[in-house]
Amino acid sequence: MPNWKNYASLFLYHRPREQPSVFASGLEDHISDEQPAETPRLFRRQKGKTSSGRRKPRRPRQVGAKTAIEKKFHLELAADQAIDRLLSDKTGLAYSLNDNREVLAKIFRVPKNKDTVLRSLSLASDPPVKALLVFIDGITDSLLQNLAILQPLMLLSGLREQAGKQNQNIFELVKEALLPNNQIAVVTNFNKAVEDILNGNSVLFIDGYNQALSLETRNWPNRGVSPPQIEAVIRGPQEAFTEQLRINIALVRKTIRQASLVTEFVQTGATATLQCAVTYMDDLANPELVQEVKRRLGSIKADFIQETGMLEQMIEDAPFYPAPQVLVSERPDRVAAALMEGKVAVFINGNPFAVIVPATFFTLMQSPEDAYVRWPFGTFTRLIRYAALFLALLLPAHYVAIVAFHQEFIPTDLLLAITGARERVPFPSIVEVLIMELSFVLLREAGLRIPGTVGTTLGIVGALILGQAAVAANIVSPILIIVVAVTAIGTFTIPDYTFSLSIRVLRFAYILLATVMGLLGILVGVFIHLGLLVSLKSFGVPFMAPVAPVTRKGYDYFLRGQVWQQEKRPDYLDPLKIRRQPLISRRWLYPHRAEDKSDKS
């Protein structure tokens, strides 16, 4: 018995539900909180005028004035700047192990960052000496660490006897006699230590020494990692994520070797909890975005979530809207690029995909290869892709509209060709189009399920049925075959799989609208579709940004600008650092302007 109350509630008024606002600044339409209070100025002096009634001179905009984001997160930014200074000044290590630990914890954002391990140990000396082994989990060989570092130092060294016999320098002894690693280097400053740790080495700090030992333990995941299946490119890395969470994070870390790359673990679900890794750049990503991602993940109560697609449905803003609100990728380089823009990636244990949030329409239409080829080709490819989107969504609907309603719109010669081709077809255009579109959907679905060895048979059957037999039997016209084929090719050109699925479904809606009201139906459909898309948000970020709402546009949203022109990160993300590179990034062109002012900005 259906619950009629639920259906009836669809027609009743619902008070609008308020969602927390994640982003507020950076957008053109931001109404600043600093605006004057909402009191009538009727009885007060006019704003912008002096007491004598003359207009005040306009105050020039201050160079280097703080943005809203800089003001809001000034503490976080100050901490980041202190770390940057410490590293760039090559500050030396301290004698105290605790001091070194504290600094390293700040640099690697521990305990927030679960990737970096600060392993405390006691050397087997008399009295015991405290030490600290620092490394990044996932990119180091743990067996090697256990056998060649921890075991000799803690159990097998005989340090206690040796230290008792002679007053020997423990640091030298450890370096020369106790660690059977093939490569050992002495590190004297934090910058070098951090660099080595990020490269997969383990660095050993000993209490009382302002030096550390960098030990070769790197174990990058490579080969065995398979090439991408869905997001294949010709140029660019040929690695894809695996089912191992640690390997996936290590693959990203292989691209971004920075201490501010943070991985946090969040338990999701209720019965069979799932481990999710939230990865972001601590000095770039908006803290409110990170918080919102963790909040949504942590608050999910479901029995069983095992795939990014299921997770996506649990965390997306608007489940009824016709577009995906997260970007799913199997490519470490794409995730790394997104993180460097200030986005957040979510990995799931046992799943070879990463969920990148927030997603916008323009990011869904981009392919990683756009950035790897020279800009004219990248731009051209993108234009072709948008044309393909138009064809995939609207071409069959236009065919129906023109055949059924607007024959006068096409030139006479073309009209005669179409009419001649349709002369022997007994069906109205809508039936003809639906037969072909549904046949194609069937073929596609069968192609996914069929075993690989008999896949070619399906291709032959499909080509014969769709291409030849249907035309010969006068079920469809040859022109429709071209329409359906071009539409299918257009659909496959859309880079994001989920987005192309939504286009496939929406195509049928447009066909129906065209059947009822021709081109007017299509245009009204486009208007509603646009209205829905511009009011859609992904984790608080407008889906159609930076076009609607209008924000400051870079050179990489619709067309692909040159790499050296892409100086700023997308401002609709409100990143902590907006500038990606200085105004003059190709210093070799201006060797005399090496210390350019643009660096300071």
């Binding site: 109404i31 009201m517 511009v534």
Partner: protein, 364 residues
């Protein structure tokens, strides 16, 4: 950005006002202007621009005294609930009538040009359904959709003008003064209501950047006046006076005569998006504006319950004229003629009350 209070940027606000002011250029704009200005009808939109600027400056000066408050609330503060109810009725009259007549004229245009055998009620239903959904989604949705489509609208509108250049006959402009300076001024004052939709600025004022209020108002009027001027001048150049006075919808005739060789004929389909989208945006604005005025008059926070009722009003108004000629006449009689003067009168009353109360306050 998932906040309750909508925020509309400067360019979005300008787009909304520009579309709401200039929707008429794609419908029956100029039908009465040509018979008042004769060969010099193109001067009337120029004089009208000044009147429009005066109107918008009057509105801006009132709004800027009440930061963040809309015209309905300001009216209530200054004139009390009873007198303000009359003002509110005027605002509703403007928005609902604009919406209703746009709906009727757009549907008539589709019926004449593209859907000869389709019942006009179905065309009307499609238009109102599209506008209803988007206006229900909110002011942000309307503004952003309009801003997204602005490029297409401007390019297509300009293409329609540029493609007709081979048909321009400059002798059509002579005699230069047409019906004479007094006749032109009279025509301009009579048609000053073309700018009455600037009233919408008073509805969206709480949601736009306050420091950009003046820029938004002035830019909107100037951009709209450019298109009004163009769409009076170009039909005059193409069809010449007095033939131009016989056209009910000059822009559709402009599109029909475009001919780009053997393959580029019957190109009016290319201009279909501009007609449909501009009318849909205008309808959405009218729906939102009337629902918002209703909500504020009844002191409700949410405008959405009134969207459907506004749609019913608009449909009823659209059904009132018996034919397209009557719809054009109604538009001229009740909107174009003198309605800006009525708005100016309301604004002057509110200004006077504000001035008197301000004086009393300072004395006190």
């Amino acid at each position: 950005m998932s906040q309750q209070k909508p925020v509309v940027g400067e360019s979005e606000a300008v787009t909304l006002l520009l579309t709401f002011l200039s929707y008429k250029v794609f419908l029956a704009y100029g039908v009465f202007i040509y018979s008042e200005g004769l060969n010099a009808s193109w001067i009337i939109p120029l004089i009208n621009t000044l009147l429009g600027l005066l109107g918008v400056l009057l509105l801006i000066s009132l709004l800027s005294k009440f930061p963040g408050q809309d015209l309905v609330k300001i009216g209530e503060v200054l004139s009390g609930p009873y007198l303000n109810m009359l003002f509110v009725l005027f605002y509703l009259f403007i928005f609902l009538l604009s919406g209703g007549l746009v709906l009727r004229l757009a549907a008539e245009r589709m019926a004449v040009g593209f859907f000869v055998d389709t019942p006009i009620s179905l065309t009307t239903f499609f238009f109102i359904a599209g506008a209803l959904v988007v206006s229900y989604l909110g002011l942000e949705a309307v503004a952003r959709t309009a801003r997204f489509l602005l490029g297409i609208l401007i390019i297509t509108a300009m293409a329609m003008v540029i493609f007709t250049i081979p048909f321009w006959q400059f002798h059509a402009l002579y005699p230069l003064w047409g019906s004479g300076p007094w006749g032109l001024l009279k025509g301009a004052i009579k048609n000053s209501g073309d700018y009455v939709q600037i009233l919408f600025l008073g509805v969206i004022y709480p949601f736009i950047p306050r420091d950009r209020l003046k820029a938004i108002g002035i830019k909107s009027v100037l951009f709209a006046s450019f298109f009004m001027f163009l769409y009076i001048l170009v039909p005059l150049l193409i069809f010449t006076y007095p033939s131009v006075t016989e056209l009910a919808m000059p822009s559709i005739e402009m599109a029909r005569i475009i001919n780009l060789g053997r393959f580029g004929q019957r190109l009016e389909v290319i201009f279909l998006p501009v007609w449909v989208f501009s009318n849909l945006i205008t309808l959405s604005i009218a729906l939102y504006a009337s629902a918002a005025v209703f909500a504020r008059a009844f002191k409700l926070n949410d405008y959405r319950p009134f969207v459907l009722s506004s749609a019913v009003f608009i449909l009823v108004i659209a059904s009132l004229p018996e034919n397209v000629s009557q719809a054009i006449y109604y538009h001229y009689k009740y909107l174009t003629q003198y309605s800006l003067s009525a708005l100016a009168l309301i604004l002057l009353i509110l200004h006077s009350v504000a001035w008197i109360r301000g004086k009393e306050e300072s004395k006190g």
